[in-house]
Amino acid sequence: MPNHDLSPDRDGVTFFSTLSAAVTHDMKNFLAIINENAGLLGDLAVRARNGKFPIDPQKAALISEKIRKQVNRADEMIKQFNRFSHSMDRSQEVVDMEEMVHLVAGLAERIIRHHEVFLTVTSAPVPCRIQGHRFDLLHLIFRAVEITCEILDNAPEDTQKQVAVSFGSDPLLPEICFMIDTDTAAGWDTLFDTSKNRALLDRVNMYVKKAGRGCGFCLCKTRETQ
């Protein structure tokens, strides 16, 4: 359903530009590898021209495979970026949160990697669907990932830099949990206590609570607004 009523606020624009910058940076890296492989093929052709060093078919096949691998990576990234860009066109709808988590994980891969964090997503036991604006929900997930990465940046050295994302088992009370290997002094339910984060949570009628077991927090749908 097209969106006629919402344009992102400044925080939303910042989120969009952060992901755009990360994606375009990744694209440049894919192009750089394709460029070097094309260059290597050129080098081999130059050496083969005088007949002394014929092109090894296995080597050529390997280079071709490496180019194809980068093209596939770039293609996947562009598809994800296209889905992300179109999230702004859409109005309120029922959104599959597992799909949104995978989309954020793919698009923010570079950002997550820069924190040296490894993110895993466990399949939802029941569909995790939330009524809301797709763009805002993606924004909220990204913010949760950012917050966990920041906690891990400041964690003791022996902490495993891993974020495990999982989903609740009650389809009527959807929740997305972000679990890590360390505690935080700030208190799990106060992590989103900034005006920007509170506004974001309000827009999607969600709240944050400490995870039932272990270290982490869950994004939960407010019961009365479902």
Partner: protein, 142 residues
């Protein structure tokens, strides 16, 4: 004599192909997939130039540049980046980067910069040696 280069990038595929092409041009190439590993390698080995990605996981490019320049001030560092903003370029140059190239880079242009970097390094080392000799002669009444 060939140029000895340390190539630093977190993309393994990029490291493999670049080092192969650079070696085919007569350079001696060692690789590291992080700034931390590059710094560790610099403790035991000397290079004419470092070609380093500006944005890698862990230590960021500016910090890596500062650390390398502290450890080996004569070392020439050529940065490779997806996007070179004016601010980042100026900041990198102020800290002591020799040059900054945008990805995808032209290998012939990079090879020329590496050759120049080696010549600059040799001049710098010569100058440092001369100053050391002057200093010793002055101290011992030369």
């Amino acid at each position: 004599m060939s140029e000895k280069v340390l190539l630093v990038d977190d993309e393994k595929d990029f490291l493999d192909i670049m080092s192969e092409r650079m070696q085919a041009r007569g350079m001696t190439v060692k690789t590291a997939d992080s700034a931390d590993k590059a710094l560790a390698m610099l403790e035991n080995e000397s290079f004419d130039a470092i070609v380093m990605d500006f944005k890698m996981p862990g230590m960021d490019g500016i910090q890596a540049l500062k650390n390398i320049k502290t450890q080996k001030p004569e070392l020439q560092i050529i940065l490779l980046t997806g996007y070179a903003t004016v601010e980042k370029t100026v900041e990198a140059m102020k800290i002591g980067a020799t040059d900054l190239l945008e990805k995808p880079a032209d290998l012939e242009a990079l090879a020329a910069k590496i050759k120049q970097a080696k010549a600059d390094k040799m001049l710098l080392v010569e100058k440092q040696t001369e100053e050391k000799i002057k200093d010793i002669l002055q101290r011992f009444g030369g």
